[in-house]
Symmetry: C2
DNA sequence: CGTGTAAGGAATTCTGACACG
DNA sequence: CGTGTAAGGAATTCTGACACG
């Protein structure tokens, strides 16, 4: 599929799909016309990348993470490069994401409870103002 | 307790505790000296407020949510004011928080898995470079 | 660093029409 | 009828650049 369809199917702006490619996170084939040509599997990969980017992971960390994912579970041994640095960076990101999830979940629940309260209280005040 | 202790116990910067008060989200008593004096219950309330603020809820929405929480579960009826507007705003915030939590959880898991992979692969390369 | 946007050009696709055998 | 084609316009995609927080 071309970039427009991938964008529609993933909800990711075309601009960002091009950017992911620029960062090596997505490597579509090219038609003679120069148009990008994506595989079916790129739908999932683009979604993963987008999620990670929106979560605040720098693209330079996403690259090795993707490599990890693509390897056969067997011949994955001395393949990694970064070493301790990478481990530390990912550990830091994990800690950040973990605490952020907790904070947001807590708030989400508080808002949800309040919302229930609001709706329970006003039952049939105005029959849906819209 | 005074503001310093509350700050230590909650991890919330003094600057923010004063700000919450300015927005009516925390209403400590005042000593003759002018020092703020917080109740034990303010520890929890400050934590809640902080979480909501960091989650991106505007303080003007946090205020009614707190009022809701403080009421006796019984005489909570015509107490609300905003009406439909408020419901819509909170519904929107809930949706935002919900999708954000999903995105971050997904990323968190991906990073965690990669982290495990990294650590499993490099067992005893360099005995902790630090 | 991630994202939006305006710019100018190239490739693609669409429709309705005409031609041909 | 099925099929090819020229025509004009619209939608899509391309790149490199600037802007922003």
């Amino acid at each position: 599929m071309r970039i427009g369809e991938l964008s529609r199917r993933t909800g990711i702006p075309i601009r960002m799909l091009r950017y992911y490619e620029e960062r090596g996170l997505l490597t579509p084939q090219r038609a003679p016309s120069g148009y990008r040509h994506y595989q079916e599997a790129d739908v999932e990969q683009a979604t993963l990348v987008s999620s990670l980017v929106r979560s605040g992971l720098p693209t330079r960390l996403i690259l090795p993470l993707l490599r990890d994912k693509q390897l056969n579970p067997m011949d994955r041994d001395e393949t990694d490069d970064g070493g301790d640095d990478l481990v530390a960076l990912f550990a830091a990101e994990f800690a950040r994401l973990d605490s952020q999830v907790k904070c947001l979940s807590f708030s989400r629940n508080a808002v949800q409870q309040h919302l229930r309260q609001l709706r329970a209280t006003r039952v049939g005040h105005t029959p849906t103002g819209t």
